[in-house]
Each structure stands twice: as structure tokens, then as C-alpha cells.
């Protein structure tokens, strides 16, 4: 079955530094990848999505590129802010037409002053 791997459970950084959160996936279908962000006690919200190979997608300063050759969709930002502290999930959709999502375990990003 489908699976998503996020290797970092916790990333701690100082404000202003760059960050990369890793995401790799396994699927037998054509991949559609998502990054969701969940702030404390809030609902997960869509941050980025892509199904296009080797095309960078950006939103709110975050960016990611789907690389089908390496089955990866890493999330990056060049300069993190305090407000970026949150839980970040990578998710994979199947192509059943029902948009069934498989989530990774998530990475907590903590940004300090």
C-alpha cells in the first residue's frame, strides 16, 4: 500500500535560518503530494500541493519540488519565523477519485528567537 516517510520528528531552529523537512513516499499510482501545517490546537491546513514532476511550488514563503525519480517532496523555507512553529505533515493522495490521503507521522518545527 501507499506510505509516506518523514524522517525528522522534531526540528529546532533559530529565527532566520533555513529549514528543510524531508518527505519520501511509496506508491504504485501517479503521485499527488501535499504538505499540511497544523498549529497548536488548530485544524490541519493545506500549505502546498503538487503532482507535477520537477516543478517548484511555493506558498507563504515555503516551497517544495516533487521529484518522482527519488520519490521525494521535501519542504523548504529560506528564513524561518517564530510563527512557523507548528506540526508539518506530508501526505500522499491516491488516484481513486476520492482523494484518499495517507499521512506521514509529522515533523514538529520549533523556532526560537
Amino acid at each position: 500500500g501507499d506510505s509516506v516517510t518523514q524522517t525528522e520528528g522534531l526540528v529546532t531552529l533559530t529565527k532566520g535560518l533555513p529549514v528543510m523537512l524531508n518527505c519520501t513516499y511509496q506508491t504504485t499510482y501517479s503521485p499527488f503530494l501535499f504538505w499540511y501545517v497544523q498549529h497548536l490546537n488548530e485544524a490541519p491546513k493545506l500549505l502546498l500541493k503538487s503532482s507535477t514532476d520537477n516543478k517548484r511550488t511555493e506558498h507563504q514563503g515555503f516551497y517544495a519540488t516533487l521529484h518522482k525519480s527519488s520519490s521525494s517532496f521535501h519542504l523548504q523555507k529560506s528564513s524561518v519565523q517564530l510563527s512557523d512553529s507548528a506540526l508539518y505533515f506530508c501526505a500522499l493522495s491516491d488516484d481513486s477519485g476520492y482523494n484518499k490521503l495517507t499521512f506521514g507521522k509529522g515533523t514538529v518545527l520549533l523556532v526560537s528567537p
Partner: protein, 113 residues
Amino acid sequence: EAGVTQSPRYAVLQEGQAVSFWCDPISGHDTLYWYQQPRDQGPQLLVYFRDEAVIDNSQLPSDRFSAVRPKGTNSTLKIQSAKQGDTATYLCASSPQGWDTQYFGPGTRLLVL
């Protein structure tokens, strides 16, 4: 536009007690999903509906969990006899047919003592 709403926001139970969670999706969204999110883990799909029909409930512990969406709008997830292992946040999400993004509610945080 109102988002996905869920109630209650919190529930505390003793083992063996029953509990119901309620979800009101975004108006016009015909697909509704229920997820279980254990602490420090990613959401795991339990069941999803297209209108009133269950599409896939294979991950729902059927001996104690049930979910309905009788009119294709609101949905109820019920745990008949809760166990400590059910402690988690239960998320509801909705999506229009053919749309690739799911919109999540704030979740219900369940603690089973």
C-alpha cells in the same frame, strides 16, 4: 464561507463508556472523511463517504466504531465502548467531488481514562 465544524471539542471518558462525535462539513462538499490522530502521529483515515454512501470503512474498528451520514450532509462517528487506546484527536474533513484538497475541522480531543 463557514469551515468544517465539529463538536464536542473535548471529551473525557472512562473505559467502557460510549461517545459520539459530530461533524458538519462545508456546504456543497459531497465527500466527508473521518481521521484518528493519536498523539504525536499523523492522521489515519478511518472512514469516508461520498454523499450518504460509505466508500471505504476498512480501517474502522467495526466492533466498536460506527459512522453514518444519513442525508449526505452532517456525519456522526460513534465509539460504543471506549478503550484507553482510543485516546486521540478525531478529525473530520470534507472535499468537493473532483477537488484535490481536503478541508479539516478543528477536531475532537478524546481522553479515555
